[in-house]
């Protein structure tokens, strides 16, 4: 198994006729993702790479029975695209764009909660269940099927980690880009129950960073549910204080809230293995493997 996305996922690509949308649809199809429909207003009736294009998400869902959507539209159109997907009844919606206004996400987040849907991103590479399916723009060559679940606020740190895991023979069940923004649609604590319930996932890697309290919330959950080994890496220990590091969410406030120290302390107290760097993550995974826990 895996979580959120698998070979049965019937995916819509919103913005399929755009440059990014088309390019990554091709990549997703090549990987085996069942892209069943695309949506671009005004392009209904066309086909892209053999995938039928619709004017609205509702029509796409009605015609194809799609059950998830990945949104490849620019930041300023993200809000309306997310609302359209949620309003069409989709329960899994991924947003990729960077620089989505926080107020737009605040509204989308709230609506997703009220509708019982799962929203991922923005500022995320998407989700991949290696060997089965992917929704997003990650370079899939570096991923390999296996039993480690990965969640990351940063795409680059996730790539680096996965690259080393795969090179060391440690595959992944599902890798999720929770995104680097201030309001992520889903975060670590939302996904831990899924990974813990997934029989294929034997251990979970959390790649966090400074800012916010997502890692602390994860620590609380893990302390109450010590079900599987969890490894965490917190980036940004030496980042300059009070400056946003590009990820809108990665900022330590003047009073120290959101610091790497506070996060590591909370996670360590919950029994999480703290990794110093990506190599260290691999070392810990190898040890778990030797102990027969992976």
């Amino acid at each position: 198994m895996s979580i959120i996305i698998d070979q049965n996922t019937r995916l819509i690509v919103q913005g399929i006729t755009g440059r990014e949308g088309t390019f990554h649809t091709e990549q997703m199809l090549a990987y085996g993702t069942r892209v069943v429909a695309g949506v671009t207003p005004g392009k209904g009736g066309q086909q892209v790479l053999g995938v039928p294009v619709f004017n609205t998400v509702r029509e796409a869902v009605e015609a194809t029975d799609a059950n998830a959507s990945v949104i490849f539209v620019p930041a300023r159109f993200t809000r309306s695209s997310v609302l359209e997907a949620l309003d069409a009844g989709l329960k899994t919606v991924l947003t990729i764009a960077e620089h989505v206004p926080v107020h737009d996400m605040m509204y989308c987040y709230r609506l997703a909660r009220l509708k019982g849907a799962r929203l991922f991103g923005p500022n995320s590479f998407g989700i991949i269940s290696p060997g089965k399916s992917k929704a997003g723009f990650m370079a899939h060559r570096i991923f390999a099927p296996g039993s480690v679940g990965v969640m990351s606020r940063s795409a680059t740190n996730c790539y680096e980690t996965v690259f080393m895991l795969t090179n060391n023979g440690i595959g992944q069940s599902t890798c999720i880009g929770v995104g680097g923004d201030m309001i992520p649609g889903s975060t670590f604590v939302d996904l831990l129950p899924d990974f813990f319930a997934d029989p294929e996932t034997k251990a979970v890697i959390i790649i966090g960073e400074i800012g916010g309290n997502e890692e602390e919330l994860a620590a609380e959950y893990i302390a109450a549910h010590p079900e599987k080994p969890v490894i965490a890496l917190i980036a940004g220990k030496n980042a300059p204080k009070g400056r946003s590091m590009g990820h809108a969410g990665a900022i330590v406030s003047a009073d120290g809230t959101g610091s790497a120290e506070s996060k590591e302390r909370a996670l360590r107290a919950a029994g999480v293995h703290i990794a110093e760097n990506t190599q260290h993550i691999v070392d810990i995974c190898r040890k778990l493997k030797e102990e027969g826990r992976l």
């Binding site: 300023r76 620089h99 605040m106 060559r141 570096i142 740190n157 790539y159 309001i183 400056r243």
Partner: protein
């Protein structure tokens, strides 16, 4: 800045004291007359520093002569290293009490939150530390917005009489409209003066706006240009790069294609006892021209002796990255500088070939750890 927040408050019909902005002492009389500002007034230097009063940036004037004297002295002077270019001249209020009111976008609830306290003014930070119960927090569900029971709750739970209920409700609605329309992360009124007739007046305000929403807020974009900004940050933005100064006196700079990786690089370099001066996020498109520009900007940072390039994008073209390094070396004199290149992506072989044909000071590695180790070996050159 304060005067900009005041202008926005005025636009939303929030009760503010009359004031005017001047940038030359000789304009004081005209500006006061034009806006109908009455004495006594407060002369406030428009600089973004904490403890502005203590630094001498807030003065009182009972007549025009005093106001002009303060203006002559303050304009062009420096407060804690920041030049005073503008003054805000505002009528002095006679407040009976001072409250605190703000709406901020709360990361934890992921919704707007009202923060209210009857202990406003300079005391708010002290109150937050010593008596947090006297600060009320109330989530605004964006699907519900501001409703009349909210002001009632804030006053009632603070043990205050409901005399100001209508005024506070009105203020909250206007402040929330401003918060929503202007993509605010924070709309703060402190102090919020309560006069003897239970009228509320926003004496000072602070507004913080989401950078990602600036494209739809043209008037704010104009304000932003007035803010002081480091030259290299501005220069980098011309190319859509994000340049972040890290530590003054550092000798290493880092260039990457994601902020998470930049943070990891800073962490690893610092852990190995070296100092990072600045980092640069390329954003999209690692073309050779962009790489060359990024290197020029990083090597312009005072004290930088080495640039570490770490690019891992999956679909990034390594030959473009390598070509950028080559271009930078041709265009700019980088003699004696170290360049460490780690790249993963397509056309890696081609890229490697270009890099290896450049110069012995251009060092290619296969990982971040190896790059840092190579730097460490050449520490005497940093």
């Amino acid at each position: 800045m304060e005067y900009q927040a005041q202008a926005l408050f005025k636009k939303y019909d929030l009760p503010v004291m009359r004031g005017c902005v001047v940038d030359r002492p000789e304009d004081v009389a005209e500006a006061i007359a034009r806006e109908g500002v009455r004495f006594p007034l407060v002369v406030k230097a428009q600089v973004q520093i904490g403890g502005r009063g203590k630094a001498g940036g807030i003065q009182f004037a009972d007549d025009l002569a005093q106001a002009e004297a303060h203006a002559r002295r303050l304009l062009g002077s420096e407060l804690r290293g920041l030049r005073v270019n503008k003054l805000y001249l505002v009528e002095r209020a006679s407040s009976a009490r001072e409250w605190y009111l703000s709406i901020l976008l709360d990361r934890l609830s992921k919704q707007p939150v009202i923060i209210f306290s009857a202990m406003g003014g300079m005391e708010i930070e002290e109150t937050a530390r010593t008596d947090p119960d006297r600060i009320k927090k109330l989530v605004i569900d964006p699907m519900i917005g501001v409703q009349d029971y909210m002001a009632r709750y804030l006053l009632s739970s603070s043990g205050l009489p409901l005399d100001c209920l209508k005024a506070l409700d009105d203020l909250l609605r206007k402040l929330y409209a401003c918060f929503m329309d202007y993509d605010c992360m924070l709309c703060e009124i402190n102090p919020l003066a309560v006069d003897s007739e239970n009228r509320l007046i926003a004496l000072d305000g602070k507004i913080d706006i989401d950078d990602s929403a600036l494209y739809r807020l043209p008037d704010v974009t104009a304000w932003r240009d007035e803010l002081p900004e480091e030259e290299l940050v501005r220069e980098a933005r011309r190319f859509n790069f994000l340049y972040i100064p890290v530590e003054a006196g550092g000798s290493v700079a880092v260039c990457s294609n994601g902020s998470g990786m930049l943070m990891s690089c800073i962490d690893m370099i610092t852990k190995n006892g070296m100092k990072v001066a600045a980092v640069l996020d390329l954003g999209g498109g690692a073309t050779s021209d962009r790489i060359a520009e990024a290197m020029r900007i990083l090597f312009s940072t005072p004290g930088v002796k080495a640039v570490l390039i770490n690019i891992f994008g999956g679909i990034t073209r390594c030959d473009e990255v390598a070509g950028g390094v080559k271009l930078a070396m041709e265009r700019h004199s980088l003699d004696g500088k170290l360049i460490l290149v780690r790249m993963e992506g397509t056309n890696k072989d081609k890229g490697v070939e270009i890099i290896e044909g450049l110069h012995s000071d251009v060092i290619r590695t296969d990982g971040l750890r190896e790059s840092v180790a190579a730097l460490l070996e050449r520490r005497d050159r940093l």
